[in-house]
Each structure stands twice: as C-alpha cells, then as structure tokens.
C-alpha cells in the first residue's frame, strides 16, 4: 500500500522535511502492508470493540467552580497576556 504522505501530514498538522517524507512513505507503507494481513480474517458478523471493559459515559452537573491555580497554568504558556494565551494572527 503506497501511502501519500503529504495530505496525511497536513491533516496531522505535522511539518515534514523532504527526507522525512521519503523515509516515512517507505516505513509507513511497510507497516500498512503488514496491517493488510487483517483482511484475512472474517469479521462479517463481528461487532467492533472500542473499549475492552464495558463502561459508559460519566456525566456531572454543569456547575462552574473557580480555578484555584490559574497562575501555575499560565506559567507554562509560551506567550501570554492578562491570563490570555497569545498566538500569531488568526484572522486577516
């Protein structure tokens, strides 16, 4: 399975160098060829399992509680101003 690396990298927001594009195309194609082995199995009447242990969604009351440690959180920000995260221009 020859994988076209560029559109996938775009979806994943991953910048790749030319060498990486070539190397990954090769390596990922080999892995996908290996994954193609799954075609040998008959799963016509099999349901998918996304979670091995039966669990269901947990909800809680939509109540706002104050954030105790805003400063600790903001301390990790690459660029910030007034408890807001600063990023390059989004809208032209």
């Amino acid at each position: 399975m020859k994988i076209n690396v560029e559109p996938v990298a775009k979806l994943a927001r991953l910048g790749l160098s030319e060498e990486e594009k070539t190397l990954f195309a090769e390596q990922l194609s080999a892995i996908l060829d290996f994954a193609d082995n799954l075609k040998k199995l008959d799963t016509e009447n099999t349901l998918p399992t996304s979670h091995a242990i039966p669990i269901k969604n947990i909800f809680r009351e939509d109540k706002t509680i104050p954030c105790e440690n805003v400063d600790d959180i903001m301390a990790n920000a690459p660029e910030a101003e007034n408890h807001l995260f600063k990023v390059p221009r989004i809208i032209e």
Partner: protein, 491 residues
Amino acid sequence: MHTKTAHELHRLLTDKKISSVELTEAVFDRIEKVEDKVKAFVTLTREEALHQAKTADERIGSRHNVTPLTGIPIAIKDNICTSGTLTTCASKILLNYIPPYDATVVSKLKQAGAVIVGKTNMDEFAMGSSTENSGLHPTHNPWDTAVVPGGSSGGSAAAVAAREAILATGSDTGGSIRQPASFCGVVGLKPTYGRVSRYGLVAFASSLDQIGPLTKDVTDSAIMMNLVSGYDPKDSTSVDLPVPDYRKALIDDVKKVKIGVIKDLLKEGIDPDVKNAVKAAADKLADLGAEMIEVSLPSFDYAVATYYLIAPAEASSNLARYDGVKFGYRTKGSKDLLSMYYNTRREGFGPEVKRRIMLGTYALSAGYYDAYYLKALKVRTLIKQDFEKAFGKCDVLISPTAPTVAFKIGEKVSDPLSMYLSDIATIPVNLAGLPAISIPCGFNLPAGRQDRGLPIGLQIIGKAFAEEIILRVAFTYEQNSEWHKKSAPVS
C-alpha cells in the same frame, strides 16, 4: 540498604533500625555511583525527597497512619504528572512543562508517605519498546550496559534493577511495563483497564493505557497495587469496584489452579532460550500442583497489526493538543497560526511519534477508516473472544513476556516493524483490557560468556479484575525459585 525490598525496609523503618533520611541518602549515593552508566532518570528531586523523608520519619516516629510505603524511595515515570516538577514524557515538545497538578497515583503515593526520588526516562510519549526513542538519551540495561532496558518504561525498570529506587511506577499500553520488567529482571504488573486511575497520566492511547508497579519482588507489587488502585471520579474510565487487599493473595499454593500455556507464543520466532525458560517455569508450576493445559488463541497472530492501527489512531487524537498554544514548546518566529502548528510539531516531536501520528491519522481518514481502524476494532473483538474461550477452561494463562532477551542498543532502531514485533506477547492483553504480570524466570545462556546472561520474563495473564490470582501464581513461583534474588552487576 538500597538493595532491599520495600517490605523489608518497612520493618527496618518501623523498628527504628534505619531512618527514611538515611535510606533516601543511601539511594542517592547509589544513583551518583551508577547513573552515568544507566541513565535511568530525566529529573532527580533530591531536595524534595530529603524533605519528604524527614516528614516520613516524623510520621513513623508518631506511629500514626504509617503505610507500607511511608519513607520508601520511589521513582515515577516521566509521563505521570508531578505538580511543580518537570514532566517531559521524554519529549522535546514538553521539555519545559511543569504540571500544575499531581496525577491521582502520585497524590496517593504522596499521601502514603512515599519519597519521590525523581522522574524516569522513557520512549517519547510512551511510544517504543527500548527507551531509545527518548528525546533526551537512551537508558542502559543494568545487566549489560550495551543492551536496551526495554520500553517504554525502560527508565523505571532500569532504576529498580540498578537499585536507584526501591520501586517505581510505569505505564503500559502495549507492554511498556511488562517488557522492560522482563528485560531488566524485575517484576512488572499491568492492572486491569480501569483498575488504576489514568488522571494525570499523559494520554497515549486512552483505551489501552494503564499505570502499574515495577518492583523487585511480587510482594512489593501487591503493596503498590493496594495503594494506587481504586475508583477515581476524575477519570471517566475508572471502574467503581472495591479494591481487595492484594497482599492477602500472596499465598504459596497453586494446587488445582488451571494454568493455560499459550502455544501460539511458544512457536518459531521466539528465542530458544526464552522458550526453554518458560517451559521450565511451566514444569515447575506443574510440580507445585497446578494443572497445565495447552491453549491456542489464533487471533494473536493478528494482534500486533491490530494494535498498530488502534493505538496510533488514538494517539493521533491525543497528541493533537501539542500545538504550542497553551503549554510546551512553541517554534520561534511564526507569522501565522498554521505554520506555528506545523513547525512546533515538526521540531518538537521525534520520528517515532511522527510515524505513529501519521499512521493513526491515515487509519482514521475518510476512505480508509473502514478498512483499517474499524477492521482493527473488529479483530480486537476476536482477540477478546479467544481470551474468553481460554478462560472458560483456565484460571490464568502463561507465556513468555517477550520473544527475546534485551537486544543491543541501536540494533532495531532503523526497522520500526521489527521493533513492533517485540510486543507480540504483551499487546493482546492490552487489547482485551486484562491484568498481567511479568516475573523473572531465568537468564539466557550466551555462548562463550562468563557472566550469567540476560533476564527472561514469564507473563501470567488473568481475567478482568483477577489480579489476586495472577499475584498468587507469581508469588508461588517466586517463592520456589531464586531468580529474584540475583542482582544486576552494574556498579
């Protein structure tokens, strides 16, 4: 004293024969002696550790609320959040990240009075089987520093084996606790999915990840399980079931226990030394009164392919948050948001992480979702069903933990697929959400070597929430063998 187990040290501490401060200093002396050869750690927290040790000594002195881990030096894998202490996941993209909160497991260990000595090295974002994918440096196996410690919890396994910590925590998504335990000759346990809270564990594959203990013996494993297990409302996948006293499961008796030997994991492709060690372990268990049954789980042939579609798919979603916006690394000089994303992730992630994000994105994308991701989820059901059939006849299942002993550093880095195949025995367990433990069961016998060779691990698998039976079988085997008494030669 750094060579003793937590349960031995607990006795010495409560009998006032040693203090936690002395013990912690002994551990740091040991770290100073061997760490440049092992490189198990990313961050050492000596000052905080000595402070915690002092508090532990006061607590032990007061005899109030003393737990089996009070005053015991422990290492934490660096993908588990420790408030105020660097948590990097061994990635350049988190090299400067200081979590504003403790993982639930860390809170529990701190409440128990454990002394945290540092954060251990790992494959970046837990993606790997050798710790060579660390964005910082590889870790070396204390049994032979030219070989890998396994991964992704290689730092934790090596730290315990090198006596740089009395015990450690790791995480396991496809074998990342068990395989390094096997390679480093220590005990590694992956609990049932949902048994231990994932709150504060940096997510790799949310339906597979679990935190678990890496210890010198089975008793210490049960001790940690008692302290870290349990329902956590902060983890929506945490299961609300009572936690038994796992130490009560440590009975030296396997009479009438039905043990299924997985024949699919003892065929070609498995190292002959590994096969022999596991067969000898099976014979030993039979001598001790267990009933050995041969079982076949044919879907195992497809487990690695299944995992390498599901785990990367989940990872591609979980790792989307590393975008340079709110925390972690951000590339310099971006003129627009999109190029900030591309460059931050290009510069911050290592090659294996990029490979898996791409694989996952591809498997989930329109036109490929059914053939890859959905198909893998269906095969996951077949694997679950094979386990259910086997557990219809058996109480536990056994197999080698890994197909080989630890390989040389650099041997498999350029062949991702060959690296993936080293998880062949551990992966099916994660896909089915079951508990499993790896215990030392021998060493290989390399031709022409004077020293004893490299460790081999025996994997024991149980039904969901049946940690007690796997601990019992593991304990029985351990008490009737000598492997756990051997020490790694690094000095």
